[in-house]
């Protein structure tokens, strides 16, 4: 199962290396990892999406990560209502003839075209991984030349529903 873990870390050299090293040392499977600064100077936030077999593994992961000296906080937010977002850039083949067709796919996904070339477009899309995957599937037949994804970054929502079945936002 997929779990989202967020870490708040001191932004010291080597901290990311220590985290990723720990994942490989303990044989944990990272699906994606994204890092960036936070509102506080010197403090970064890392969001990891990991694939685990059972709860014991995720408990171990959070404990092991928490043990790292430069890690301030670890949270497994998978069971909370979260806002999870990822960004993808997709360079897709496109001729003047099928351009409109592609535009019509882009719209419902609230993606945008950020560069137009002679025979290709660059599309930017943000959203949950599932949404991005669905979009990629749709666009694939046109010929994807290049694809870059950032990995998920996530927050718990400000108001947590007491009994939620879907943990993910819909948009």
């Amino acid at each position: 199962m997929k779990r989202i873990i967020t870490l708040t870390v001191l932004n010291r050299p080597g901290v990311l290396n220590r985290i990723t090293n720990l994942f490989s040392k303990r044989n944990y499977n990272i699906e994606s990892i994204s890092v960036g600064e936070t509102e506080q100077e010197g403090i970064s936030r890392i969001t990891c999406v990991v694939n685990v077999d059972n709860d014991r593994v995720i408990e171990q992961i959070t404990k092991q990560v928490n043990k790292q000296i430069d890690v301030l906080k670890v949270a497994d937010i998978s069971d909370q209502a979260v806002v999870a977002r990822e960004l993808a850039l997709i360079k897709v083949q496109s001729t003047p003839q099928n351009r409109n067709e592609i535009y019509s796919l882009i719209e419902p996904f609230r993606a945008s075209v950020i560069d137009v070339g002679k025979d290709s477009l660059i599309i930017q899309i943000t959203g949950e991984s599932e949404k991005i995957e669905a979009f990629i599937e749709l666009i694939k037949p046109y010929g994807i030349k290049e694809l870059a994804r950032t990995g998920t970054t996530a927050f718990p929502r400000s108001s947590q529903r007491s009994n939620h079945k879907t943990n993910y936002s819909i948009v």
């Binding site: 870390v9 001191l10 010291r12 050299p13 080597g14 290396n17 220590r18 090293n21 720990l22 040392k25 014991r56 408990e59 171990q60 404990k63 092991q64 928490n66 043990k67 790292q68 000296i69 430069d70 890690v71 301030l72």
Partner: protein, 572 residues
């Protein structure tokens, strides 16, 4: 006028501190009494300052020897072992020791030289990415980038290494940082917001544990090295006497509880004794204090303590539930936890039947071997070493059969008298670790029990022993084989002895002679008696080449994949 002169002098002094000065000053503040170090290009600025420094410096003959010596020192003294190595090969030579210390939770602060900051990343002469290499095998590591940070980083390093679950910390020291001048920085303050080990356990968990002990029918305590690190031996004894719960030890915990105590059941694990292993197998309550349920202790997890409620006291929360599902987790320092437990004055369990069963096991299944005057038996040699030291020596071992015999036949009565490489099982550990142990406790009788093969992985350290005239008793159990490997090949690989027999060992007596160390070859029990009587009290090093039986096996034994109840070789 005068005032102004004084002022300029102070100003000048302020300016004249180098990075290396700050390093040594920080070590003094930490009350470091010994550095195990080896010079080289990148640490020359540091060595130039060491030249005038009054902290004892020991020059091992290989950096690996240096770090193992620091480990031995740390284990016996309870303080951090300090190591300095140069960049590149010096740094990579300490890698095994770091991994060893990480596994066995030994506090070390290791300084490695690094090429100057301007050339880092250019594959400069003797550059190695030691931070990258050692990240998974250090509790923490970092590189010094600003001279001003030196005092703070070193203070933090000692704090991290020695508190919580101890472990090795590595500080990478670029050459220009060591040589650079700076105004003396202000007194450092530790700033580690992400590092706050839980010391005091949760009271409710202690209550829960107390009740579990009171209502248990077949309780047992598994005492690990956590007892030693937190200096909780006395409290463990007090608690055990209050509750009358029997105790088994892990390999690394030996000495934490007196082996001659009636409630001590012995060593548990792969080569542990029958009673201890059966106690773990049959108990209904297992209280683990400061052990990490290593696979050499548990055997096949599917058969481990199958009917037990497991309680686990550990300062490292990540150890709790890692291998064995735990019903009563207690995060905290062993000493604090035991203090609280003793105060509870819980009702002792009603377990007379259990105690009788265990007494029966003890009587019927002691360790056994068949003695002979010649060939000399390693088990007998260990017993003789025990007798000659009243069981009060510091026993340092290497890795292999002799290590297990030492654990079995030298039943330790006191804490911090046992130095062995448990988690990593590092051959070559024993001889240098004995050096560190002797430095930590100069008046102790240190016995280094080594295999003939492991001894040759760090023979060069004999030079240090001679140079410092450390009165270490080096007991080589010379079976002309890689004994433990030979045993496994005999049992699991149809006696196909692939590269485990070495009939042509060098003469260890002549070798010792080259180092000007007194040495004896000993072939029989009689000879052993005579020579031990002569040399054990000497204030000088001695090397004893015990020519022991070649094909002796360590028993009992639990084969890989088997449970603790499936020991073989329990009886003759």
């Amino acid at each position: 006028m005068l005032q102004q002169a004084a002022f300029t002098k102070v100003e000048a002094e302020k300016k004249t501190v180098t990075g290396a000065d700050l390093l040594l000053e920080a070590l003094k503040k930490e009350e470091v009494e010994v550095i195990f170090g080896y010079p080289g290009g990148a640490v020359l600025p540091i060595y130039d300052k060491i030249y005038d420094c009054d902290i004892m410096h020991v020059l091992p003959r290989h950096e690996q020897g240096g770090i193992h010596a620091a480990e031995g020192y740390a284990r016996v003294s309870g303080k951090a072992g300090v190591v300095i190595a140069t960049s590149g090969p010096g740094a990579t030579n300490v890698v095994t020791g770091l991994a060893d210390a990480m596994m066995d939770s030994l506090p070390l602060v290791v300084f490695t030289g690094q090429v100057a900051t301007g050339v880092i990343g250019t594959d400069a002469f003797q550059e190695a990415d030691i931070l990258g290499i050692t990240t998974p095998i250090t509790k923490y590591n970092c590189q010094i980038r600003n001279i001003e940070e030196i005092p703070r980083i070193i203070k933090e390093a000692f704090h991290i290494a020695t508190t919580g679950r101890p472990g090795p910390v590595l500080i990478d020291f670029p050459k220009d940082i060591a040589a650079g001048l700076v105004e003396r920085p202000a007194e450092p303050e530790i700033s580690l917001p992400g590092y706050q080990p839980t010391i005091e356990p949760n009271y409710l968990q202690i209550r829960k544990l107390t009740e579990a002990v009171s209502s248990a029918k077949r309780p047992v305590i598994l005492a690990g090295a956590g007892i030693l690190f937190s200096k909780a031996s006395d409290l463990l004894l007090e608690y055990v006497e209050q509750q009358k719960v029997p105790v088994v030890h892990t390999l690394l915990g030996l000495g934490g509880f007196p082996a001659d105590h009636p409630l001590f059941l012995g060593l548990a694990g792969m080569h542990g004794c029958y009673t201890a292993n059966m106690a773990l197998y049959e108990c209904d309550l297992l209280v683990n204090i400061g052990a990490r349920f290593d696979d050499r202790l548990t055997g096949n997890l599917a058969h481990f303590a199958p009917n037990a409620t497991v309680a686990h006291i550990d300062i490292d929360p990540a150890e709790i539930g890692k291998n064995v599902p735990t019903a009563i987790p207690v995060v905290g320092d062993a000493k604090e936890a035991l203090t609280m437990l003793v105060k509870q004055e819980g009702k002792p369990p009603e377990h007379s039947e259990w105690m009788q069963t265990l007494e029966g096991y003890k009587k019927e299944n002691p360790y056994w071997y068949e003695n002979s005057d010649s060939p000399l038996k390693p088990q007998r040699v260990t017993e003789m070493l025990y007798e000659k030291t009243n069981g009060e020596g510091i026993v340092v071992t290497d890795v292999g059969q002799h290590q297990m015999w030492a654990a079995q036949y030298y039943p330790l009565k006191n804490p911090d008298r046992w130095v062995t490489s448990g988690g990593l099982g590092t051959m070559g550990f024993g001889l240098p670790a004995a050096i560190g142990a002797q430095i930590a406790d100069p008046s102790a009788t240190v016995i280094a029990i080594l295999g003939d093969a492991g001894f040759q992985m760090s023979t060069q350290e004999l030079a240090v022993i001679r140079e410092m005239n450390l009165p270490i008793k080096i007991a080589i159990f010379n079976n002309r084989s890689l004994g433990m490997v030979r045993q496994w090949q005999q049992i699991f690989y149809q006696e196909r002895y692939s590269h485990s027999k070495i009939p042509s060992q060098p003469s260890f007596v002549k070798l010792a002679d080259a180092y000007d160390i007194k040495a004896y070859e000993i072939n029989s029990e009689q000879e052993a008696e005579k020579i031990l009587a002569e040399v054990m009290k000497d204030k000088e090093p001695v090397l004893l080449d015990f020519r022991v039986a070649e094909n002796e096996n360590v028993y009992p034994m639990i084969a890989p994949g088997k449970g603790l109840h499936e020991m073989v070789g329990v009886k003759k």
